[in-house]
Symmetry: C2
Subunit: 112 residues, 2 copies
DNA sequence: ATTCAGTACCTTGTACGGCAAAGTACTAAA
DNA sequence: TTTAGTACTTTGCCGTACAAGGTACTGAAT
């Protein structure tokens, strides 16, 4: 906890990561490394130890499915795809996200 | 944890609450009940058990100061005000917030 | 054959934040 | 001297993200 700024960033991101994963998979199916790359490119860098448990959790909740695919360059990959239930929850998350950004806007603009 | 939607909302808000408190106090000093009201009006309802420890933490970090003020209707109130250090951190938080909303936008629009 | 490097997936333990719930204490009115 | 209202505080729990380490598959080099 030496780096205060990084801690703030981490705390603010908490809870958004599942949303980001669903968002990413709503565009197209992907396996872990691809997801990590896409999040990184969007400026939302996370690590393996964060991603894998989340994918498993979301799969167990029925938000995702996966299929194995052989790779020419290493072990087989787990390709995850979003389910209908996952899209429903994504919709809900988008609504919540809008509410939150709206709340922050109100507080920033000092309307009270 | 029965209500999944509420849990999502709660998790997404985590880490933003300190930012909201600093934002609120950057407009004018206030005591706990006023802060709770303002957050509630902005759609960011939190409870006493969340707010008080946060105020104490931010005060201990030098982000806030407080003064006691007598009340005509009950016990004295602790009026909190933001410090220069608090404003610096608020600036940092605003930057991080912009980065995060930008990341979400990128993921929403599927630019990768 | 065996080692090595690269890739991919998984697990354990820890730190931290927010909240529910309960407690303390001050004031004024009944 | 109770009671109701207000205000501040604390304890214990749960969920999340991460650091760190581990397992296992593949192909190339030795």
């Amino acid at each position: 906890m030496e780096n205060i700024t990084e801690n703030i960033r981490q705390q603010m991101r908490k809870g958004l990561i599942e949303y980001c994963i669903l968002l990413t998979l709503s565009k197209e199916e992907a396996y872990a490394s691809t997801i990590l790359d896409k999040l990184k490119n969007a400026g939302m860098t996370i690590v393996e130890g964060t991603l894998y448990p989340l994918l498993i959790r979301q799969k167990n909740q029925g938000l995702l499915t996966y299929r194995w695919e052989e790779s020419t360059q290493g072990p087989p990959r787990k390709y995850y795809a979003i389910t209908d239930k996952g899209r429903q929850q994504l919709d809900e998350m988008e609504n919540i996200w809008k509410e939150i950004t709206n709340s922050i806007n109100i507080l920033e603009n000092g309307k009270d």
